[in-house]
Symmetry: C2
Subunit: 189 residues, 2 copies
């Protein structure tokens, strides 16, 4: 059976889990939501320990969220950041979130992006990136983050994307450690 | 309207365009199909000048194909390689194309992958990568390929992915030049 299309959908629990109309003023508040999504995704058994949120820079409301769906959707592309960015673009109706008539957008991710997601962030039009757990935290439990170098982040900066690392790192990393402890699948080890 | 799912589908012309049951023995034959898809995508007005094919390494048949859908689908993630890999995984029903009970798989792309696609290739389970036009060919017409470095390809090699660059490069680059000449959108310039 040759597949001609793919439907990407969040697990059912997500919509009621997200406080769509709450202002998330600080980086810490924004990250708390991304981390909560990562933990809930594991608790519900719907995927890996990663969560991401695209925020509207003016209303400070979540525009779209993502959780890791690789295993359940049988699709290696569906990291949390990719899911959040695709849904944000679908919501806005454009292939870029950066336009003169749009507010700026921030991507908040519970873990530093892998090579694929870092590239996707560059094309997405987000103007700010906030990360929780570090590459080392992900590698420590067995995940591979791919070819991401200091020069990769410099490339984002040169394109005007502001990056903040280590936001609530301990809380974010704790979800990774708990996932490992429960025997969660480490895909692409 | 908040989007809760995204459906990714190839343009209607693709299915009849692809010779699904033809053996593609050589890298040149395989690349000819990827280039033909890139050119047809432009000619039909369904997207950017990029095509990609996942081949079964035993039957040498195409398993799945992709064309660039960024503009039409309003989704910056939908580069040709990403579309082909997602559809191949959907066809096989796994999040990796690399398993003891599966044949090896080759990804053939009409242009060297951007940073996002290079990362996706790493996670996809393909064991061979064959590229047509070079990064320089894409940059010359205004596309950005993102943070891809020699060390990025070394990372693929270290993971056992064989890479062949410059397959039918002139034919592949000609599609890019023609696209530029007709005023095609250069997204993410």
């Amino acid at each position: 059976m040759r597949a001609h299309d793919v439907r990407i959908a969040l697990p059912d629990w997500v919509d009621t889990f997200v406080p769509w109309d709450r202002r998330h003023e600080s980086a810490g508040e924004r990250m708390a939501l991304a981390i909560a999504l990562s933990g809930e995704n594991v608790a519900r058994g719907t995927g890996g320990p990663f969560g991401a949120v695209v925020f509207d820079g003016e209303t400070r409301h979540p525009v779209a969220v993502g959780v890791n769906l690789v295993e359940d959707a049988r699709n290696a592309v569906l990291h949390a950041e990719i899911v959040a960015l695709m849904l944000a673009q679908a919501t806005i109706g454009r292939y870029t979130l950066n336009a003169p008539d749009l507010p700026p957008h921030t991507l908040v991710t519970s873990c530093e992006p892998c090579a694929m997601c870092l590239g996707a962030i560059l094309w997405s039009g987000v103007q700010d990136l906030e990360c929780g757990a570090t590459r080392e935290d992900a590698v420590r439990i067995g995940f591979d983050e791919g070819p991401v170098f200091p020069a990769s982040y410099a490339y984002l900066s040169a394109r005007g994307i502001r990056v903040q690392l280590g936001v609530r790192r301990a809380d974010a990393a704790a979800v990774l450690v708990a996932y490992r402890r429960t025997g969660g699948t480490i895909y692409n080890p």
